[in-house]
């Protein structure tokens, strides 16, 4: 990872030839075994010449620590390839399929002369085009297990009707908008299919700039080389969450980052924040951060300052948007940024690779980049008026689904700070847990909890006994299976509601039950909630006359923390095979749950 970042930093690719040369260079490094990363199979299908896409996607992926295998469909062959059951596309077995059909290709003559069709025909034509795309997507869904990213269509800015375009019934623009709306509705109802909003992408970079007409007429290259590179950057918004490379937390500097000026020198009345030309960029920057917090991004502070000066700003400055309760961790001290970031990661129990770092000071950024290459260091421009735009361009926080727990995550972590304070003021762990007053609710999976349970199986690495990953469809199927039991566990305490934090899947045979999955989110580890969950499973098993509870433990690099769980809870090791351990518990033995946790079973 360090090596890739070093190579890419050195070469600083800008133009397409840079990307092509760099991609060759990276490939040779990979062949020599000098760089490694997570693998991913991406299929890219388009309705026009696709030169340049492979190399751009490749370099962008490497930058994120992914070494992709990329399949590029033949020139304008997307339909045939998708419909061919035994073709190369399906032999490739992609994890991600990107389907990019451009407006001109799909509309053909309709694009330049739509009004040669009477209105009835226009509607029928657009409907038939939507049906064509739908058939292709359905086929991809059936033939692969891939996530499917499908482009919508650029709405033309030109109309032969000129200023009267908007008076037309189902005119050119309206018809493309209709096509986009149908596609959006279709994607909304298909969990594995995601819309790539190409129309917005074109607006963002400017529709005048998307095409290089010479390239288009000479080579049927629909996008300028520069646009291809930017488009591939935006694809990373889909690729990163697919590889669980989603960031969780923004660590922020304060002086000249959250407000203008230096609090230690300018004082609370001197710093710039609020409705003035100098204060507005910071105010809007904070508002955008608050919106991210409300969508579940964790916020933290690392700042060289006197703690009391800063707290005064948060408490008393009338124009501050962010307040103390928006931050999960506040490292306001004179330590260097690197140690503060490491401390924050430890405190929040998240990986360094979940952190995005925003600081106006270039020296700090370089230091963090060098020492903590896993952290995404944002190149904050010198001019604060560009802060908001920079923040909006970060595509690291995407996920494919958003659960209630995600939305509350920022808040939940901020509450966690209060728990930590309670813990440090408690004399031992049991008295802390007693004062915490946990209440857990154990419940059979239902429509509301299925997405979260699936997400937990996908994301939980530490306290996860078997690390089996399940899709939403799998969890749904299992929860309807009479021989299986799927449960979720929700936890709440005096500081707030953590939402669903754990899950278990159990195979029920008449005499013995077997735990297939048993996991707990890292943020509640160490509160003995897992013991309450185990107790509840044992109680159920006993009531159904089972004699034995079996449990599998599969060690991974990351689940060290769960290693002794079964041993510590009275299980006996029965068998060890290829590192995996099979434990069992004789249910005639009494098991008691921690008495300081209140358990509600539903």
């Amino acid at each position: 990872m360090k090596r890739i970042i070093k190579i890419i930093k050195e070469k600083k690719p800008k133009s397409m030839p840079d990307y092509i040369n760099l991609s060759e260079h990276l490939n040779s490094e990979i062949k020599k075994g000098r760089i490694k990363g997570k693998g991913l199979k991406i299929a890219f299908l388009s309705s026009f010449t696709s030169n340049g896409f492979k190399e751009s996607i490749f370099v962008k992926c490497c930058e994120a620590g992914i070494i992709p295998d990329i399949y590029i469909g033949g020139y304008n062959q997307y339909s045939q390839e998708i419909l061919d059951d035994s073709g190369d596309l399906y032999k490739f077995k992609p994890n991600l399929v990107i389907l990019f059909i451009d407006t001109k290709s799909i509309l053909q003559d309709y694009f330049l002369n739509p009004y040669s069709f009477p209105i009835g025909k226009r509607k029928a034509y657009i409907n038939s085009k939507f049906d064509e795309i739908k058939i292709l997507i359905e086929k991809l869904k059936k033939k692969t297990s891939a996530k499917i990213v499908v482009h919508n269509f650029e709405v033309p800015v030109y109309s032969p009707m000129g200023i009267l375009e908007n008076r037309q019934d189902f005119g050119l623009k309206e018809s493309v908008e209709k096509l986009n709306a149908s596609l959006r509705d279709f994607c909304r109802n298909n969990p594995r299919v995601f819309l790539f909003d190409y129309e917005s992408f074109c607006s963002k970079i400017g529709k005048d700039n998307t095409t290089d007409f010479k390239m288009y007429y000479m080579g049927d290259i629909k996008l300028s080389m520069h646009s291809i590179i930017r488009l591939c950057s935006d694809y990373m918004g889909y690729i990163k969450p697919l590889m669980s490379l989603t960031k969780k937390c923004i660590v922020l500097d304060l002086d000249n980052t959250l407000w203008g000026g230096i609090i230690g020198e300018d004082g609370i009345k001197g710093i710039k924040i609020g409705n003035t030309p100098e204060g507005r960029p910071f105010m809007e920057f904070q508002k955008a951060l608050l919106a991210m917090f409300e969508r579940g991004v964790i916020l933290a502070i690392s700042s060289k300052n006197n703690f009391n000066d800063v707290v005064e700003v948060f408490k008393k400055h009338p124009d501050m948007v962010l307040r103390e309760n928006n931050f999960a961790s506040m490292r306001i001290n004179w330590n260097d940024k690197v140690s503060n970031i490491i401390e924050i990661a430890k405190e929040l129990n998240i990986g360094l690779d979940s952190i995005v770092f925003i600081d106006d000071d270039k020296l700090n950024r370089d230091l963090v980049r060098k020492r903590l290459p896993e952290v995404n260091v944002v190149d904050l421009p010198e001019d604060p008026s560009l802060y908001l735009k920079t923040l909006m361009e970060i595509n690291d926080f995407n996920s494919f689904s958003i659960t209630d727990e995600d939305l509350k995550k920022g808040k939940i972590y901020a509450e966690q700070r209060k728990r930590t304070e309670l813990q440090s003021s408690s004399k031992d762990i049991n008295s802390y847990l007693k004062r915490l007053g946990s209440i857990v609710t154990i419940e059979k999976a239902n429509d509301f909890s299925v997405p979260r349970i699936s997400q937990l199986t996908q994301k939980t690495n530490q306290f996860n006994m078997t690390t089996k990953r399940y899709l939403e469809e799998d969890i749904k199927k299992m929860s309807n299976d009479k021989n299986l039991m799927v449960v979720s566990i929700r936890s709440k305490d005096k500081f707030g509601d953590n939402g669903i934090v754990g899950a278990a899947i159990i195979k029920k045979c008449p005499d013995e039950w077997e735990i297939d999955t048993f996991l707990l989110s890292c943020r509640v580890i160490g509160r003995k909630i897992e013991e309450s969950m185990l107790w509840s499973i044992m109680k159920d098993a006993k009531s159904r006359k089972a004699k034995m509870l079996k449990a599998l433990f599969i060690p991974t690099k990351k689940n060290e923390v769960a290693k002794d769980f079964y041993k510590n809870n009275g299980f006996v090791l029965k068998e060890r095979k290829n590192g995996a351990e099979m434990w069992q518990y004789n249910l005639s033995k009494k098991y008691s749950a921690p008495n300081f946790i209140k358990v509600i079973e539903k």
Binding site: M16, P17, E24, N51, G52, K214, M215, M218, I221
Partner: protein, 76 residues
């Protein structure tokens, strides 16, 4: 301004020394039709000189490229 040679070498991924007047699309593997388009677009971007489709089609060798470029640069 980057020289034509430098731009061309970087687009085709070859050494500048290889580029002499005889270097042509016929005798070079690297100079394929896609690289040709990319080369033209890079030259346009870096020098501000714009070529027409006809000119782009007619450029077959490094000598052609130099001549066409110099003619256009003079006329500018």
């Amino acid at each position: 301004m980057e020289s034509l040679k430098a731009i061309m070498a970087s687009v085709l991924g070859i050494k500048q020394e290889k580029l002499n007047d005889n270097f042509s699309r016929d005798n070079s593997e690297e100079w394929d039709s896609f690289n040709h388009l990319m080369l033209m677009s890079e030259i346009e971007k870096k020098t501000g000189i714009k070529f027409t489709i006809k000119e782009i089609e007619s450029i077959k060798s490094f000598k052609n490229l130099k001549d066409t470029f110099e003619k256009k640069a003079k006329a500018k």
